[in-house]
């Protein structure tokens, strides 16, 4: 019986194709018998909840989990200032080329901590599961969470699971909160951009958003683009190790590069000048955006950062970035200026200028 459930779970992963999540780390959820899908009882706090934690989440998390199951994680003291961040993940579809909601949930929060210059240490994971979601899907997501945490070197120290009625939620929602420690002397913040700073980006932009859109219902299109989901604190550590006083770091997720740059321009009361032809927009991203009427600068990234650094340290930081696997495509895209404060302006390929605006809300594909 248990084997059947496990078999169904494995079959689900193989049968759906294209999502090569590693299932080896996830042992068969034997006690989850007779429930190939989530039922309300899994969130009830009783035996079924315990089964889910002990037979699914903990094995799936592998070495990244701290297995004490108290009400609160008790953590050792750390030396330095703490960074603390939380984010919720509701991406649809849950599995997409290059990743899943599971690794996003880890990398997203890890990156939020890294953008403060912090070394991420601990994460909480909380799930809101819709009744009827396949247990095998939860297994795949949890496995991805475990793998990503292991890759990022963070520990999963506490968690929670709730189940909502069919129709109240949608598949799996994940919230993670994370704590990291900031090395002494590191002060990074959106208010520290100064005129003269050089704007760097760690590589090709728009990959995650295009990968997710390519498999969204009703919009399936074939593209070699995969999500760039990755933890960036190692890259940040290498940048800081140059000794250059990095002023601002930001990971351009929702709203893309244009949202991040606008937030920095507003936060620091400066202008940002970009050179459009220097923007690292892969051809596939440009094509997909052209087709859908979207601006690549407004498309989400999940494994890129934008940095503002003093001009005299820019080359050293750029070199350090390019030496790191997640910064191999790093380049200079513009400068911070005194002119047009709180506004981001791009010089177009033809020599004109255009304002790069904060996106309003959801991107709406154009009619024609």
């Amino acid at each position: 019986m248990g084997e059947e459930v496990g078999g169904a779970a494995g079959g689900g992963a193989a049968g759906e194709g294209g999502n090569d999540l590693d299932f080896e780390g996830w042992t068969c959820p034997a006690p989850l018998r007779n429930t190939p899908t989530v039922v309300m009882g899994h969130g009830g706090g009783g035996a079924m909840s315990a089964e889910l934690v002990e037979s699914l989440f903990l094995p799936a998390y592998g070495g990244a989990a701290r297995a004490e199951l108290g009400d609160a994680a008790v953590l050792p003291p750390v030396a330095g200032r703490l960074a603390f961040s939380t984010d919720s993940y509701v991406v649809k579809p849950m599995f997409f080329p290059g990743g899943s909601i599971g690794d996003l949930a880890v990398n997203g929060t890890v990156n939020d901590l890294a953008m403060a210059g912090a070394q991420p240490l601990y994460l909480s994971t909380a799930y809101i599961l819709a009744e009827g979601t396949a247990i095998s899907d939860i297994g795949r997501v949890a496995t991805a969470v475990g793998k990503a945490a292991e890759q990022a070197g963070v520990q999963l120290v506490t968690g929670d699971t709730k189940v909502v009625d069919h129709g109240s939620g949608d598949g799996i929602y994940v919230n993670t909160a994370g704590v990291g420690v900031i090395p002494d002397g590191v002060v990074i913040g959106p208010e520290r951009a100064r005129p003269g700073d050089v704007v760097l980006v760690s590589g090709a932009i728009g990959l995650h958003g295009v990968a997710v859109m390519s498999c969204r219902e009703g919009l399936e299109f074939s593209t070699p683009v995969e999500s760039d989901s990755a933890p960036l604190h190692g890259l940040v550590a290498d940048m800081l190790a140059t000794g250059v006083d990095v002023h601002v770091l930001r990971d351009p997720t929702r709203g893309g590069l244009s949202a991040s740059l606008n937030e920095i321009a507003r936060g620091s009361g400066v202008g940002v000048d970009l050179v459009e032809r220097d923007l690292p927009i892969p051809e596939e991203v440009r094509d997909a955006c052209g087709l859908l009427g979207l601006d690549p600068l407004q498309v989400a990234n999940e494994g890129k950062l934008v940095a503002m650094v003093p001009a005299d340290g820019a080359d050293a930081v750029l070199e350090a970035m390019r030496a790191h696997p997640f910064g191999a495509g790093a380049c200079r895209i513009g400068t911070v200026v005194e002119d047009h404060p709180r506004m981001v302006v791009a010089r177009t390929g033809l020599g004109g200028t255009r304002v790069i605006d904060l996106p309003i809300g959801e991107q709406l594909p154009r009619i024609c």
Binding site: G218, L219, R277, E283, R286, D287, G290, G293, H340, M343, V345, T348, G349, L350, G351, G352, T353, R354, V355, D357, I360, G361, L364, P365, R366, I367, C368
Partner: protein, 369 residues
């Protein structure tokens, strides 16, 4: 798409700009008809690079912008019905009706879905036989063939729960209406390339002749637009007024005969109100009597529509090229893409939205916004 990059090559653009500067001896005002062209011109800053006095007047060719308020209100009323799945292209969702928009209807529980093709809506109808599925069929001659094909298939395949809310508009009657306007300043037109790729170019020589204006069929990439402008300026300088095709790689003179045949079967010409402009005779398409069963307007009788346009919004004058977007007192103040008073601020092809998105730098430096 290498072939697209080639059409934004900066060196070639510079060469075309030099040629435009060389032939221009005095000010000219020309209108690009299509919102896609407006978007491209503003996005690439093409208008900033033209000779002093060569002015681009932004035309009414944004289908989202000119869809009449009454039709939007009708769409909202239909989308609110519990038995309806309302399908639309994405950028119609934020267009303000008299009181709210499709996003509001969706948030209140209406089943409003963004689709990327009308054929997707037909699939929704197949999948939901107990629901009425309505597709919001708006646009110029470019989007019409796909809508026509969809209705044609719905009839052929016997899908009775599908219908089309039609508000198609046509370019040539709009050009005539603009030229007939007593306040008209337009001396030449860049015609919309993709409209012509469907309909061909035969409708335009009579307009060029009657109104004495050059009409140049123009594409959408920066080099296409510059070549269209160059051909237009050359005609103006030489005192000619002819139809020319600056977009031959997409536009054969006869257009797409199969699409035109389908259009003639499914649609018939009707008078159409353009939002902000008013009624233009013979400027729209509605479903022909053969397809009346699929007309959402007839299927869902929505009678008590009281339209209520914002008194501040001057989008009509913008659409007619009488004022530039920032000359409206509400621009960037009461009216922003986040809180649009008129449709021209909503669609990325709307002139107001294009100015807001790309041009605030100049406007701020000039103290304009």
């Amino acid at each position: 798409m290498k072939y697209l990059d080639e059409f934004s090559n900066p060196d070639l653009a510079r060469r075309l700009l030099d040629q435009i500067h060389a032939v221009t001896t005095r000010p000219w005002a020309m209108m690009e008809v299509c919102g896609g062209q407006t978007h491209s011109i503003i996005r690439h800053g093409i208008d900033q690079l033209l000779p002093e006095g060569v002015e681009m007047i932004h035309g009414p060719g944004c289908p989202v912008c000119v869809t009449p308020l009454e039709t939007i209100d009708r769409a909202l009323a239909i989308a609110r019905r519990p038995d309806v799945i309302f399908c639309s292209f994405g950028d119609m969702l934020r267009v303000p009706g008299s009181h709210d928009d499709l996003f509001t209807v969706k948030s209140e529980g209406g089943d409003v879905r963004v689709v990327y093709s009308p054929l997707d809506a037909l699939q929704v109808a197949r999948d939901n036989p107990d629901k009425q599925v309505v597709f919001f069929g708006i646009g110029f001659e470019t989007t019409a063939p796909a809508n026509a094909m969809t209705v044609h298939q719905a009839r052929q395949q016997g899908i009775p729960n599908f219908s089309l809310l039609v508000s198609h508009v046509l370019v040539p009657p709009a050009i005539a209406a603009i030229m007939e306007s007593p306040t008209c300043r337009v001396q030449a037109f860049l015609a919309a390339g993709h409209v012509c790729s469907v309909m061909g170019t035969s409708e335009y020589p009579p307009l060029a002749e009657k109104y004495g204006v050059p009409i140049v069929v123009t594409g959408f990439e920066p080099l296409d637009i510059l070549e269209g402008i160059r051909k237009t300026v050359v005609q103006l300088e030489e005192g000619r007024h002819e139809l020319e095709n600056a977009y031959p790689r997409a536009v054969p003179a006869e257009g797409n005969p199969a699409a035109v045949a389908m259009l003639r079967d499914v649609f018939e010409v009707t008078d159409r109100t353009w939002r902000g402009i008013g009624m233009i005779p013979g400027s729209g398409w509605r479903l022909s009597s053969r397809y009346a069963d699929f007309d959402a307007e007839l299927r869902f009788e929505v009678t008590d529509i009281q339209t209520d346009e914002s008194p501040l919004c001057r989008s009509g004058e913008v659409l007619q090229g009488l004022i530039k977007p920032h000359e409206c007192s509400a621009f960037g103040k009461e009216c922003t893409p986040r809180n649009p008073l008129g449709a021209t601020m909503v669609s990325s092809e709307g002139a107001c939205a294009a100015y807001y998105a790309y041009r605030r730098l100049d406007l701020v430096s000039a103290g304009g916004a």
